[in-house]
Amino acid sequence: MYSSKQISKGSFFLPKLKRFNPLITIVRRAISPVKLTPEEWIKVIKPAEPIVELHGISKQFGGVQALRGVDFQLFPAEVHALVGENGAGKSTLVKILAGIHRPDEGSLKVDGKAIELRSPTQAQSLGIAVVQQEPMLFPDLDVAENVFMARQPRDRFGRIDWKRMYREVDQLLASLDVSFSSHTPVQGLSIAEQQLVEIAKALSIQARVLVLDEPTAALSAHEVDELFAIVKQLRERGVAILFVSHRLDEVFAIADRLTVFRDGTHIITTPVSQITTEETIKHMVGRELSNFFPKGEAEIGEVVLEVRHLTRPGVFADVNFQLHRGEILGFAGLMGAGRTEVARVLFGIDQAANGEIWLKGKQVRIRSPQQAMNYGIAYVPEDRHQQGLIMNFSIATNITLSILQKVSHLGLINPNQEQQIAQEYANQLSIRTSGIGQLVNALSGGNQQKVVLSKWLATNPSVLILDEPTRGIDVGAKAEVHRITSDLASRGLAIILISSELPEVLAMADRVVVLHEGSISGTFTRSEATQERVMFAATGQDR
């Protein structure tokens, strides 16, 4: 692959460039000692055709249409932001660029040549570096090897040159100003740190197209600054950067142009200078924010659940909050903030080291999910496919899985009763299906989520914990989930709503608890809670 001498020189020259390519001159110039200002860059670039050009790309997963004939262009030396709600299709596009997914339809051009991206290696060899949304690393190996795996520098005998590898990785890490070394084993790095390793990896292949899928989601403010510094540096060198993010403030801080996706369709592409945050959000959700989330009226009752000084070393510490009857308590925070971990402890999957949990005035120890269920706690987990459902069970068997006792006598299951109960909830939550005998893996994301909800409502809980309940489900289903949630609250359920989608929390929650690196960094009432304040608390900045 790449002889890594070039890296050591620190230049970002890309050997795999096609010959006879006008761009080559540009990049040559870019890495030549003569530094060009961004302005000069724009001059050089604009006439050039886009590095990457997508045309009429569609992609479908089972039932879900992730992308519908989207067009998209990426120019050298631009930072291009891609925004959209969860499930808008951003990551799908990214994965197509990375050569992980192949589009069902549409064409992809690199340097104006039509290309079939067959594999990640091929994408890399074209100079496309991708930082996935979820880090994909080798826990048993150290940082350096993770960065260079399958591309380790070799000496003239073809042996791996460890010295040089560590040296070069350390250089990369230095430029990222991270807190770990090239020798640190990846097992034990936080998600944020793993994300940084991924970025180092991307930089190491001297990309001219760098794709970052929500890179900042898990980063601390400081790390974000470092990252942006690097992004700017790369832009100066003529690298094209695709930047996927939910954080509009960042987008407006760094991006030159901006593209909005909604439900897998391309809505608009425009220079950031010519659009406002409000307009962008409008494009993203397709409606006015105000009337988007149905907000049921529920009167807040007595305290149902109280948590005091709850601590799980290494994950979260000294968490305190109260949850009332009929209340929706929003949990905001960055990915990895520890929200899910708190929920897991409340549901008895993990054990807290210390702290107290009080249910309806009685202190309780929750050692297992069964116990939690007996106490009337229900947990809709964040990962539908892995934790929520048995994918090749039918709708009915999934719904009754949590209440097998109810539908069985002397340990034997009563099929009629099972069917009947399942049908009941399928109707109540209007799950669209050919019948409750259908396998859930054939359902759309939204309907799958409704099956999970049914499963937990069937236990008729008094405390319902929803972890990212609308992640990756389409707008319609989303609205329904919100409707269901709020009238569950009005029926007197106490609900904890964990969501990475700020607008959702702000609109749904009566109160918002914000976690940052495992401790509560702010609690706001509906009236106090603004996008800005919550985001500040979530990123741990005091203000």
Binding site: Q122, P139, R159
Partner: protein, 349 residues
């Protein structure tokens, strides 16, 4: 940026340095731990029976584990990729028998040719395993459990249609000499095993393919994403295991001279014990050749000690079982403790 977050960074820095040290220390623990165990055994037994401490005895121990070590090296390659090869015993048995028979039928034949034949046969058997596992998508445990019996069946059929047993007098002295000759005063068997261990260890350390074996075992999906050819490498690992079993078989025939259809039965247990005791993670991703070889030596030493101390050999198999479980349990506890400390350290920062 506020001062507080700088402090945070600095403390995190520190915690991470500790972390790196901690983990690298623990990862070295297995080899060193094995060495300590070994020395401990030697001292204890030595006190009981001074005869145990003789150089000659240690040579004997090394001789008795040389073949086992060669097979364990191959097994390590497979285990690193999150697979397992249970058919090694049958592969060794098969090649041992065929090679010996070959020498019996063609006594005049070039020694090297015979050795190559054995290795080639082993390679073929390994390739079959590899095909079934990585292209037939049959879980390694099932596939090799199957070939364990299938290959053994082949040995019996071969024996039934040729000769039920090859005796010392049937094969050329040159072949038998493989196991007895000494080079520079060191028995050839030990040298061969050592050379192979060094070569493979070197391959694992300094070649792309070698590192990619670790990658596959550590996180198969990630390996796919960065375009590592999982199937090919796993296939290669099984093939290599077969090849080494072939060589081991050749040496087996030379060492034991009398070869019948049941030879090397149950070897797989010893091999897996050696590998697991040697600290090769049975879920792949981590472990070294040095570890595996040390594991074999430890087991050999224990066996030898049992005999020296005149303890019933009936304990041996139980001991292998205990060794396997002990090792796995130890690993589990270590990793658990490691993760806890790391999480704690990180979050304290």
């Amino acid at each position: 940026m506020t001062t507080t977050s700088q402090d945070v960074e600095r403390t995190r820095q520190r915690s991470h340095v500790n972390q790196a040290r901690l983990i690298s220390r623990v990862s070295r623990v297995r080899e060193s731990g094995l060495l300590i165990a070994l020395i401990f055994i030697i001292i204890v037994v030595g006190i009981q029976a001074p005869r145990f401490l003789s150089v000659d005895n240690f040579v004997q121990i090394l001789l008795s584990v040389a073949i086992l070590a060669i097979v364990a090296v191959g097994e390590t390659l497979v285990v690193l990729t999150r697979n397992v090869d249970l058919s090694v015993g049958s592969m060794v048995g098969f090649t041992a028998f065929v090679t010996a028979y070959f020498f019996k039928e063609l006594p005049g034949i070039n020694l090297l040719l015979g050795i190559l034949l054995g290795c080639a046969l082993g390679l073929i058997l390994g390739i079959v395993n590899g095909l079934i596992v990585s292209f037939g998508r049959v879980p390694a445990i099932v596939a090799t459990l199957g070939t364990l019996y299938a290959y053994r069946g082949l040995v019996f059929i071969t024996a039934a249609n040729t000769t039920s047993q090859v005796n010392a007098s049937d094969v050329p002295a040159g072949y038998l000499a493989l196991a007895t000759t000494q080079i520079l005063g060191i028995p050839a068997l030990i040298l061969i095993a050592a050379i192979i261990a060094i070569i493979v260890g070197y391959f694992l350390r300094s070649s792309h393919a070698g590192r990619q074996l670790y990658a596959i075992g550590s996180n198969p999906d990630a390996a796919n994403v960065i375009g590592i050819r999982k199937e090919r490498l796993v296939f290669g690992a099984f093939a290599a295991s077969g090849l080494l079993c072939g060589l081991a078989g050749v040496l087996w025939g030379a060492r034991y001279a009398t070869v019948d259809a049941t030879n090397a039965t149950g070897l797989e247990l010893q091999v897996i014990a050696a590998v697991v005791v040697g600290g090769v993670n049975i879920f792949g991703g981590s472990g070294t050749i040095l570890g595996a070889v040390l594991g074999a030596i430890v087991l050999g030493t224990v066996e030898n000690a049992l005999n020296i101390l005149n303890i019933s050999q009936f304990w041996l198999q139980a001991l292998y079982g205990a060794a396997i479980i002990g090792a796995v349990v130890l690993d589990a506890l270590i990793t658990r403790w490691l993760q806890r400390t790391i999480l704690a350290r990180r979050k304290k920062a």
